[in-house]
């Protein structure tokens, strides 16, 4: 059996008008939260592996107490155990502190054969947590994974998106991969899974559960960077695309030009 750890985060469900134009801050108050869409791809990669070979999937998430709904949600997909790293000391973490906390949580639970991360989050957007976590865990890491072509409990054959090239690699386990979303489009959570998830236990990990209990290594205190300013990109107006052909298309373009 291979043991897979998937790292997932709850993010705000932004929509138009959620960013304060002046301060550049997200108006989080009242915003619904969703699972980071890129992390659902990481979970999908794990679920696909579980369909191919004997595997156990554990999910790790760092976040406030309300992120327990993420653990509930992932149980609906068929996850075996969900761990929520939650503690007031973990708040305000940057890439360094987040990856360190995740490493502490993962290590306290098991030695995993494979750690899977999403490409990025929609609220942090750095794409750095995966590689940083690999560094802490002393694992080789591969970003932009498009497909897992072959897998055994010792190694995997993967294809990796390198921008201009696609690289095929045979990699030994254990390792960490970050997957592309496009190639691992998430399945829908099943109804049976959703109901079963109600009875599954959410595992909480606080600072006191971790090997390193020094609070200076976590959250804001353990962070090496500070955000000075966030600002929204210039607004462009959304225009509905129309697909027209032949004479109709020509007519529509002509009347558009005339109206302008």
């Amino acid at each position: 059996m291979i043991k897979i750890a998937v790292c997932m985060k709850q993010v705000p469900a932004y929509s138009e008008g959620d960013m304060d134009e002046k301060t550049g801050l997200i108006k989080r108050n009242g915003l619904e939260t969703i699972i980071n869409p890129y992390d659902l791809a990481a979970l999908e990669a794990a679920l696909q592996l579980k369909e191919r070979l004997d595997a156990r999937i554990d999910v790790f998430s760092m976040g406030p107490k309300r992120a327990e709904s993420l653990i509930r949600d992932v149980y609906a997909y068929g996850v075996d155990a969900g761990y929520l790293l939650t503690n007031s000391k973990f708040g305000g973490a940057d890439v360094l502190a987040t990856s360190y906390t995740l490493m502490q949580g993962i290590q306290v639970i098991d030695d995993y054969d494979l750690v899977i991360c999403g490409k990025q989050t929609t609220d942090g957007d750095t794409s750095q947590v995966g590689p940083a976590l690999a560094k802490w865990l002393a694992l080789p890491s591969y970003q932009g994974v498009m497909r897992i072509l072959e897998v055994s409990d010792k190694q995997m054959k993967i294809s990796q998106d390198l921008g201009k090239f696609i690289q095929f690699l045979e990699v030994p386990l254990p390792c960490l991969i970050s997957v592309n979303r496009e190639e691992f489009l998430p399945r829908m959570p099943s109804f049976a899974g959703r109901l079963q998830s109600k009875n599954k236990e959410i595992h909480y990990l606080a600072l006191s559960d971790l090997a390193d209990k020094d609070e200076n290594h976590y959250g804001m205190k353990g962070s090496a960077t500070k955000v000075k300013r966030i600002f929204p990109p210039a607004q462009t107006q959304a225009v509905k695309a129309q697909f027209l052909e032949g004479r109709d298309g020509a007519q529509a373009i002509l009347s558009f030009i005339r109206k302008e």
Binding site: E16, G17, N29, G30, R187, P189, F191, R194, S255
Partner: protein
């Protein structure tokens, strides 16, 4: 200036067609920006007795906003959200051209995090409030929240003489009048403003999509559901159906539809989809879900294959999916229309209440099969508001399709004595008015029309075909000089 009446030109071509894909004609057009301008334009046109067709966002599917000569008054520039009031239930007053999407954004901005919404939500988010009220449009949750009328406390309307009426609910008589205007397809006046009553969203929501291979299986499920519904603590908010043909249409276009392109394909073996939305407290939802799980197992629908989403965002995705069913059928019509512009949308939206689900499907399927016509069926299971869309490949099939629609309406009329439909009559179905309204109702409508629009200028051809039959061509040409 917006109150100007512009002569029709090629650049206004798009205002001659709506989602029914029928093409109209007009001699002039205007885009008023406020109520005063609406009044002024009506008075000007009245002097010349120019008929007026009112337009919101032109998403209607029965040709209600298509002009048959005369003037087009398009309200798309009346887009202000005017005020919010915190009565017993919060209310918002808007201009008629505000779209459903704009309304939702406005409510969210004002009541940040308080989760208020306006319950009548037809799936087309670009539809205008004026259009929604004129057609009494409703969404998939109608069986839970009730009619659109319930969520309107006041309207302002300019009648066919240019006179402004403010109609609220301060007396039973006034309230009846308001209810009559909602759904009267713009025959009595131009709705310029409306005060809408809001509700709080339910605490939690689940959207469950069940798949069935056989009609008998889904029929047994619906039967089972209806038997236990009373005991299910009333938390079923919506029940929507789509058949395989409708699903195939969505799958063929899904890649181009942003909101749903990432949804997984639906296994070919599944021929029927049933979407149930549950709302309420977590406890009640879980109890209901457990009952549904057993029912699904009994009826041969695999709960491991059923989708179950939670939360507003995910539920919106499911709504988008069901909206795309309607949209893809319209796209299909648009594609065949390009080959032959005589072809328009052919839809029956008849309510067949109390008919077992299977018989409802067979009601449409049997005759369509006899006529060798391709159809796609989708819609609300509760109240059996299913929509059967004919998908003609050419004009010959289109002609047979028209006859089939008439046949279905006649059959329903014979069964029920009156036909209830969902999307209005407009111009496309005005030949069926005799099935839809009783003689007494028709007479009452004529009397009201006489009172509010004695010159019969507003929305000619809607509901009553006589309007177009007796058209005086000089009247239709009159706008040309304006």
């Amino acid at each position: 200036m917006s109150k100007e009446i512009y002569p029709m030109e090629e650049k206004y071509q798009e205002y001659l067609i709506d989602e029914s894909k029928n093409l109209g004609e007009a001699t002039s057009i205007s885009f008023p920006e406020n109520e005063d301008e609406v009044q002024e334009i009506v008075k000007t046109l009245l002097r010349e007795r120019v008929p007026i067709t009112v337009q919101g966002s032109m998403t209607g599917i029965v040709g209600g906003s298509i002009p048959c000569g005369g003037h087009i008054m398009n309200l798309q520039k009346m887009k202000r959200i005017l005020s919010f009031a915190n009565q017993e239930q919060p209310q918002v007053t808007v201009e008629a051209g505000v779209s459903l999407e704009e309304l939702e954004q406005g409510i969210d901005r004002h009541y940040r995090g308080e989760r208020y919404f306006w319950p009548p939500t037809p799936s087309e988010g670009t539809a205008s409030i004026g259009g929604i009220l004129a057609t009494a449009a409703r969404g998939m949750n109608v069986s839970y929240y009730g009619d659109t009328k319930k969520y309107v406390s006041e309207i302002q309307m300019v009648d066919g003489m240019g006179k402004l009426h403010v109609i609220g609910r301060s007396s039973a008589e006034e309230s009846d009048l308001l209810d009559t205007i909602i759904g009267s397809e713009g025959l009595l006046g131009i709705i310029t403003k409306a005060t809408l009553v809001l509700r709080k969203r339910l605490e939690e929501s689940w959207g469950i999509t069940f798949f069935f291979k056989e009609l008998d299986q889904i029929d047994a499920f619906v039967k089972g559901l209806e038997e236990i519904e009373e005991t299910l603590s009333k938390c079923i908010v919506a029940t929507e159906y789509a058949d395989r043909r409708a699903l195939d249409l969505v799958e063929s276009k899904k890649a181009f539809m942003n909101k749903i392109k990432e949804l997984p394909d639906i296994e070919k073996a599944f021929n029927h989809l049933l979407y149930l939305e549950l709302g309420g407290t977590e406890e009640r939802i879980t109890q209901t879900a457990e009952v549904l799980m057993n029912l699904a197992l009994e009826c041969g629908s695999d709960p491991d294959k059923a989708w179950a989403v939670m939360g507003e965002m995910e539920i919106q995705k499911m709504h988008a999916f069901h909206h795309c069913v309607a949209e893809c059928i319209n796209l299909y019509t648009e594609e065949v229309r390009r080959g032959d512009n005589r072809i328009t949308k052919l839809e029956a939206d008849i309510a067949l209440p109390e008919l077992p689900f299977k018989e409802c499907i067979e009601f449409y399927r049997e005759e369509a099969q006899r006529q060798i016509l391709d159809i796609a069926i989708f819609g609300h299971v509760k109240g059996r508001y299913l929509h059967a869309n004919i998908l003609p490949k050419n004009y010959t099939e289109y002609e047979s399709g028209e006859k089939l629609i008439d046949f279905w309406n006649r059959e329903a009329y014979e069964k029920y004595g009156q036909v209830a439909i969902e999307h209005g009559i407009g111009k496309v179905k005005n030949r069926l008015t005799k099935y839809i309204y009783t003689e007494k109702q028709r007479a009452q409508m004529v009397t009201q029309k006489q009172e509010y629009d004695p010159q019969q200028l507003l929305n000619r051809g809607n509901v009553f075909s006589e309007d177009t039959d007796d058209k005086d061509s000089s009247m239709y040409e009159a706008g040309a000089s304006l």
